[in-house]
Symmetry: C2
Subunit: 306 residues, 2 copies
């Protein structure tokens, strides 16, 4: 029994602080740290190529793009309607024997700005491809596959497991389900964010992360002793400073929010500032806003969305 | 910093099958098995007694009930607007030093019918009391507290950890966070249910559970080998039969759904049948319907609800 078509939603994730824990086995590799998942996220639609080709979607533009990008060996790949692929998504599809599928990734989040879009796309592809092709994998299996793909591509270490959980995830131990360990800060909050420019995750994670990881461990100890949102934000600011990752525009915005009585920090790794409540608005910025995502990654009923 | 008032929502949970794993330490005790969490659930509102007493809620009936039930040592307790308390909720409040709070439990689910209402109320009270009184506990801590209270009262073994996760939780190993282990069947589905009468969880769990647990382990092995919803339903039917828990009205409904081409099973432990999609409607019943809950237990913004 195969539904031939499925859609998944995965929340964005801004990392507040982290320590890097590389390992040969990508399911064991990962990061410790904490962050906030966002109701703004990534939607991934997967369909068997022949289903899309019959035009039953009624979406002429998508069908055209699909036809344009399709090859003999793999289906079409689009990102926000334009032809494009993501390495970790391809690895997930290969693992699920679903490279022939048409895969459409859609997001309102900025890409390469610290929102974990690549991890979200990989996890969404895993959930949707498993459902569309009825592969019969469990949730832990699918999270493990997406985590391994993301780690293998060097584009992230902890976004996938955090995005699978939702809320305000705390990564107590690094790694995929069955290896890593998670907790969470219980919180429902409005989050604002502003992005200035891109920052390469691969570049930072590929360098010497010793000092960064020491700062990340110290921040995690603080949050575990007091798992509250204001403590998370303060630990994030300390981490950015100690790990020497602050960039001028971000530092300026964090200071402006603080001066206006709010709580802001830098999203790791991006030239992005996120704030609780109306922190950035109060400081005179024009941020985008959403809420903490309560659910984590999930299949969505095609009747519910688009 | 205390918000003085907070609300949590916890999904209902129908257990498909389980094995019982008692232990002296209630965080270690629990069950293995699987079930389905429901978007129909339990809402718990917690407020510091003096906040409710000032009438700022604008809910005159609730304020009256609160005043009626309040004592010197503990705040008011209501269940669906009527005075009433739940043992596991009281234990959670004591653990959080919040017995003075006014606590209102609201649910559309039948009580004592296999939906995990007591566990949901305990977990909702933990989340909401922690937020209202700013106790600074982590999510795992709060789940652990509610799980221990539920196990201690003998009203459930696995609902709390399942309700914390949401979706279609598979309890691989029994116990609270840090001890137990969870997976999930990735699925978004409509669920229908009909309840015939109450069944005492305490009575069944208090008896000899050897045969029941053997049947539960066999069902779990089947689901782990094939984590799909139809397999879960089939394993649930086998469990109810092998554990000799089927009651006549339930057996009749399950057979009727099967005859109509659908998938149904008994909710453990209640005189309740649940079915996928429109299974019960198709068989001529007049069920209540909701969807699988994607999020699990969560704080809800008071601006969002009520």
């Amino acid at each position: 029994m195969s539904s031939q078509r499925a859609t998944a939603f995965v929340p964005g994730h801004v990392t507040a602080f982290f320590s890097a824990h590389p390992a040969d086995d990508p399911a064991v590799a990962g990061s410790r740290g904490a962050g906030v998942t966002l109701a703004d996220g990534v939607t991934v639609r997967v369909s068997a190529a022949d289903v899309a080709a019959d035009g039953a979607t009624g979406d002429a533009a998508a069908a055209d793009a699909a036809a344009a990008a399709a090859t003999a060996d793999s289906g079409s790949r689009t990102i926000d309607g334009d032809r494009g692929s993501i390495g970790a998504v391809e690895d997930v599809l290969a693992d699920l024997n679903a490279t022939g599928a048409d895969v459409a990734v859609e997001t309102d989040l900025p890409i390469g700005a610290g929102f974990g879009v690549s991890g979200a796309a990989a996890l969404g592809a895993a959930l949707a491809a498993n459902a569309a092709f009825d592969r019969g994998r469990s949730e832990n299996d699918l999270v493990r596959t997406a985590h391994a793909a993301e780690v293998g591509r060097g584009t992230g270490l902890g976004d996938v497991v955090a995005q699978a959980r939702g809320g305000v995830p705390v990564r107590l131990e690094p790694g995929a389900p069955g290896v890593g360990e998670l907790d969470g800060v219980p919180a429902s909050a409005r989050v604002e964010y502003v992005t200035f420019d891109e920052l390469s995750t691969e570049e930072v994670l590929g360098g010497d992360t010793t000092a960064l990881s020491a700062a990340g461990e110290a921040a995690l100890d603080r949050l575990r002793a007091d798992p509250r949102l204001p403590t998370l934000m303060d630990a994030a600011r300390g981490f950015a400073r100690d790990a020497d990752l602050l960039v001028p525009e971000v530092a300026e915005a964090v200071d402006a929010v603080d001066a206006a009585g709010g709580e802001a920090a830098m999203a790791m790794l991006g030239r992005t500032v996120f704030a609780l409540g109306t922190g950035l608005s109060d400081a005179g910025y024009e941020p985008r806003a959403c809420r903490v995502d309560a659910a984590g990654a999930r299949l969505v009923d095609d009747r519910d969305r688009g």
